[in-house]
């Protein structure tokens, strides 16, 4: 078993939260720093295995690309899709300003 010396800092957690698009509060950052360090410490046991000659598995069953004929079929009516939107405008999803 390898000695575990992984350290997660508060800055790491803030950086990851930015990638994940979550605005964490201060107490959450503190808790998640400890949580992630604990879980990643446990996961460290994977590094004790030699996997140099092992192929990765991304899928349990050997299903390769699934093709179909490129035929146009009816899909969701835009009006119907917009009916559950938080905000809509002129047949589109309305979001806050994107371009300055």
């Amino acid at each position: 078993m390898l000695n575990y010396c992984l350290m997660i800092t508060k800055e790491d957690v803030e950086y990851i939260a930015g990638l994940a698009r979550i605005h964490l509060k201060e107490d959450e950052i503190v808790r998640l720093t400890a949580n992630l360090e604990g879980i990643l410490g446990y996961v460290e046991k994977l590094s004790t295995l030699d996997v140099s000659n092992v192929e990765p598995t991304s899928h349990a069953l050997p299903v390769k690309n699934v093709y179909r004929e490129d035929i146009v079929k009816p899909s969701l009516d835009p009006k119907y899709a917009l009916s559950i939107a938080p905000q809509q405008h002129n047949g589109a999803f309305k979001v806050p300003q994107v371009i300055e």
Binding site: I39, Y42, V43, V51, T57, P86, V98
Partner: protein
């Protein structure tokens, strides 16, 4: 005997012989929900079944059987939230394929069942609606994440239910609640309309009062679906035909790694007793080894959270569900909206998993975590392939303990993750497995026996389970609701 306490196949027999009516069946379940759900809290919402549903004669295999649906399976026009605030008010615009199949079969939908938020958990304590209670001891959790579905079946607030299983989320609550739960082979049941947690592991399956009901429900929901490109195009057998009551000559493997430190003594004893039952029925046992078992929880928590962080990126306040309008400008108007919507909408465990998954997929860590875990997944899968050249099925406990107390593990994510130690490897390998009742602890809590089979080995698995059920009466015990 109240109708709501019967199995689906018993009710179907009564209907056929004219001894009861669809309205009586529906009333009986409805009364149970009204009387019992205050205590159990299995449902997050219930539906009105109208006279049309009850009086239109249907030839379907599930008419007029009431069913509970886990809150992550889309029902057209009915609020479906994964028990998360971020999906509050969200009404899907289409039916999941399993719902279409159930409607065609004449199912009566009782309501949507509680779950851990986005199926992240093993207790239902992570639901934004609060936890469900175990019908055998109301101070205990029903297990999770399909805890509401399992509790509804065990408290007879439905006849049967659907759950989903990503790392044990059907089998562990079935074990904790003393009911039958089946995780089919990956690809056996369409995932179209199942709100995704970890797409390479998720599978919908039945939670029922006995093995025959699981076979009937599996008949209804299985099959290829062009809307799910990971569903497998192989014929669906009639699973009820597999229930022959005979296991003579079958070879069953017992993995030595399953009987380790952490396995509760009462659970261990019940599994050993079950092995004796099978020996009397003519099954042969061999010791097998799954040497990479101890790595399955670590592998799972890298792969499942990575997939979850990617799948949950869609909840951004743009197209459906919750949107928070930021009050002050921090980064930019749109990024602030994303970040504050996701902060307000996701609970603590969802944030933990999204963060862990984002970390292991991030630049510089991908090879060390995600890619390495995918390789260990191969080793875990190979272990099973090897074992199944020597035996027809694997037998062991579903969970290391019986149901734990509400609050007991909620501050310790790792100890909660380890309660899935016997179920997780099955999802990584894609193979089918099920849990069925095999005894009770001295405290009166149910114990689950897990049967694992090879890909598309559901018939052998159900046959073994049914044989055990015929020889025992655990499945006939009624929950105390205290």
């Amino acid at each position: 005997m109240n109708l709501n306490e019967l199995t689906a196949h018993e009710i179907l027999d009564l209907i056929k012989s004219g001894k009861t009516t669809p309205a009586d069946v529906h009333d009986s379940v409805n009364k149970a929900v009204q009387n019992t759900d205050k205590k159990v809290k299995a449902y997050v919402r219930t539906f009105d079944v109208n006279d049309h549903d009850l009086n239109t004669p249907k030839a379907g295999a599930a008419f007029p059987i009431p069913i509970a649906i886990k809150d992550n399976i889309s029902i057209n026009g009915k609020e479906t939230t994964c028990c998360s605030k971020i999906l509050a008010g969200y009404k899907p615009l289409y039916d999941a394929t399993v719902i279409t199949k159930l409607k065609n079969a004449g199912s009566l939908f009782v309501g949507t069942a509680n779950m851990d938020e986005f199926a992240f958990g093993s207790s239902t304590e992570n639901s934004c609606f609060g936890p469900s209670r175990n019908p055998w001891n109301l101070d205990c959790v029903p297990g999770g994440s399909s805890g509401g579905s399992a509790a509804a079946v065990a408290s007879h607030e439905t006849i049967w239910a659907l759950g989903s299983d990503t790392g044990g989320s059907i089998r562990q609550p079935a074990s904790f609640c003393g009911v039958v739960g089946v995780k089919p082979t990956y690809g056996r049941v369409s995932r179209y309309g199942l709100i995704a947690f970890a797409s390479s592991l998720d599978q919908i399956g039945p939670i029922t009062k006995d093995v025959k009901d699981s076979a009937i429900l599996l008949n209804i929901i299985s099959g290829y679906d062009e809307m799910d490109s990971t569903s497998i195009n192989t014929p669906v057998p009639d699973y009820t035909k597999a229930l022959t009551g005979d296991v003579k000559g079958l070879k069953i493997g017992i993995p030595k790694e399953f009987f380790i430190e952490g396995l509760d003594a009462e659970v261990k004893k019940s599994i050993e007793d079950a092995i004796e039952v099978f020996k009397k029925k003519g099954a042969e046992f061999i010791e097998v080894s799954l040497p990479h078992s101890e790595y399955s929880v670590a592998t799972y928590y890298i792969l499942a959270t990575a997939e979850a962080s990617s799948n949950l990126a869609r909840f951004d306040g743009v197209r459906f569900g919750l949107r928070k309008q930021p009050s002050t400008l921090r980064k930019s108007p749109i990024v602030d909206m994303f970040e504050e919507t996701r902060d307000a909408g996701f609970g603590a465990e969802a944030k933990r998993r999204i963060m862990l998954g984002t970390y292991s997929l991030s630049s510089g860590y991908y090879d060390a975590y995600y890619l390495r875990a995918q390789k260990v997944r191969t080793l875990i899968k190979n272990d099973f392939d090897k074992v199944f050249t020597k035996c027809d099925a694997i037998l062991g406990p579903t969970a290391p303990t019986t149901a734990f107390k509400i609050g007991e593990k909620s501050d310790d994510p790792l100890s909660m993750y380890l309660s899935d130690i016997y179920t997780i490897a099955v999802n990584l390998a894609g193979i089918p497995a099920m849990s069925l009742p095999c005894g009770f602890s001295k405290a009166g809590l149910p114990i689950g026996l897990q049967i694992i089979s090879k890909n598309f080995g559901e018939e052998t698995m159900l046959r073994i389970a049914h044989t055990y059920e015929q020889a025992t009466d655990w499945h006939t015990k009624k929950a105390t609701l205290q």
